[in-house]
């Protein structure tokens, strides 16, 4: 082994490098220069080891951990607060939309009640044969409408002859298309010349399905 080889090998000596170790030992015996170097190197190793051992137990002061945990709490506390605030904001917005919607629906219903027959009139295109009785002609239509309740005032309606003023609570306004001549069966006078014309009338039908009052189109008045 040459001095250069020894210089390269001495730093890598370990239990596995048996051949290298014996060659290095042989070189050390024969080369005083390398022997001196090796001795220095051993001293350095010892010094480094001593330095390492002396400071092996060193660790960061406890204040570092305290500061870090504080920062950790602040960061995650802020995140939690932000998340809560975001959820609260969304909940508030949703509640506002819900209240707005309900208010609007209520307002619309109130408006509907104020304007009689405006919203709850359903159009029924049912032909009423001229020879049927009012009840026969109008009852099916009223049945189809179900339980549409109208609390309308009957200001525009004309009571049919022989009808006692009805209770409006359960009355239904039915929009009906019929031949003009069919009005005669309701007890109204009709011009015979236009008896075959189709007209639309509003009937106020009681809860028994029998028409109580009629409202004619303006042109017919």
């Amino acid at each position: 082994m040459t001095c250069e080889e020894f210089a390269m090998a001495r730093l890598e000596l370990g239990p596995s490098a048996e051949d290298l170790q014996s060659a290095a030992r042989e070189h050390l015996r024969n080369c005083p220069h390398c022997a001196a170097l090796h001795e220095n190197w051993q001293t350095l190793r010892d010094d480094l080891h001593a330095l390492g051992v002396a400071s092996r137990e060193l660790e960061a002061p406890s204040r570092v951990e305290m500061r870090l945990l504080q920062q950790f709490r602040i960061k995650h506390g802020t995140m939690r607060t932000r998340r809560t605030a975001a959820v609260a904001a969304w909940a508030l917005a949703a509640a506002a939309v819900l209240v707005g919607g309900i208010s609007w629906i209520n307002w619309r219903d109130r408006e509907a009640l104020k304007a009689p027959g405006r919203h709850n009139i359903l159009t029924v295109t049912e032909t009423a044969p001229s020879n049927s009785t009012p009840a026969e002609a109008l009852a099916p239509a009223a049945m189809e409408l179900g339980d549409v309740v109208v609390a309308a005032n009957s200001g525009d309606f004309a009571l049919l002859p022989g009808v006692i003023p009805p209770s409006l609570e359960d009355a239904t306004v039915v929009h009906v298309q019929m031949q003009r001549s069919a009005l005669t069966v309701l007890g109204l006078t009709v011009n015979e010349e236009h008896g075959a014309d189709w007209i639309q009338v509003d009937l106020l039908v009681g809860d028994d399905g029998v028409p109580q009052a009629v409202r004619l189109p303006q042109s017919m008045d």
């Binding site: 390269m8 730093l11 890598e12 170097l37 220095n40 190197w41 350095l44 190793r45 010094d47 480094l48 080891h49 001593a50 330095l51 390492g52 002396a54 400071s55 092996r56 137990e57 060193l58 660790e59 960061a60 002061p61 570092v64 951990e65 500061r67 870090l68 945990l69 920062q71 950790f72 709490r73 960061k75 995650h76 995140m79 939690r80």
Partner: protein, 199 residues
């Protein structure tokens, strides 16, 4: 919440990212000491080392997703941050030598437990100081290798992992670092001899 001693770092880090303080504290306790020693031996300043450790773990608090378990162990990732912080600090203040003994080796009770004479103890201490100074004067890349492999007694593989370089690089840096260290220390030791020879 209970922490299993063997619980994996990435699991702990995930829990920490969700706000589990115990998980974060466990990560800190696992790594703070070697990182602190590394920073202290690289900078020579306990204040700097303290700041470096704080910076490392603040990175974990602020950006836990920076660590990708698929790219390596958490320890290597933390050493990477430590290296960056140390480099920045050394660039800013290349020589920040502490006034007092910083590694905790100078303790009052050392005299009480040490069977050596005060003169011998003082000599040892002086030699240790020389070695510490010599290590601090090494170029950074050699210093890192010496600190990890000689002082922290890491294997070449562990050091290579921590420094993010091949094992061969660690070997050569260590070789060169030892040679430089030897030269520095021999020079230092020669001075008193020469001084004595002059009288």
């Amino acid at each position: 919440m209970q922490i299993d001693l063997q619980e994996r770092d990435d699991v702990l880090l995930r829990r920490s990212a969700k706000g589990d303080e115990e998980a974060f504290a466990e990560i800190y306790r696992r790594y703070q000491a070697p990182l602190y020693r590394f920073a202290l031996r690289m900078t020579g300043s306990p204040w700097a080392a303290e700041e470096v450790v704080q910076d490392i773990f603040m990175t974990l608090v602020r950006e836990p997703k920076k660590y990708d378990p698929q790219r390596g162990a958490l320890g290597a990732f933390l050493y990477g941050i430590a290296r960056n912080r140390v480099m920045k600090r050394l660039e800013r203040a290349p020589r920040e030598l502490p006034l007092e003994n910083t590694d905790g080796t100078c303790r009052a009770n050392s005299f009480a437990t040490d069977p050596m004479t005060p003169a011998h103890w003082a000599e040892l201490r002086e030699r240790r100081e020389q070695v510490r100074s010599a290590v601090l004067e090494l170029p950074i890349e050699f210093r890192e290798a010496i600190v990890l492999c000689e002082l922290e007694e890491m294997s070449y593989e562990e050091a290579a992992h921590a420094l993010g370089c091949p094992v061969g690089t660690i070997r050569s840096r260590l070789h060169r670092g030892r040679a430089l260290l030897l030269a520095k220390l021999e020079m230092l030791r020669e001075v008193p001899k020469r001084a004595n020879a002059g009288h």
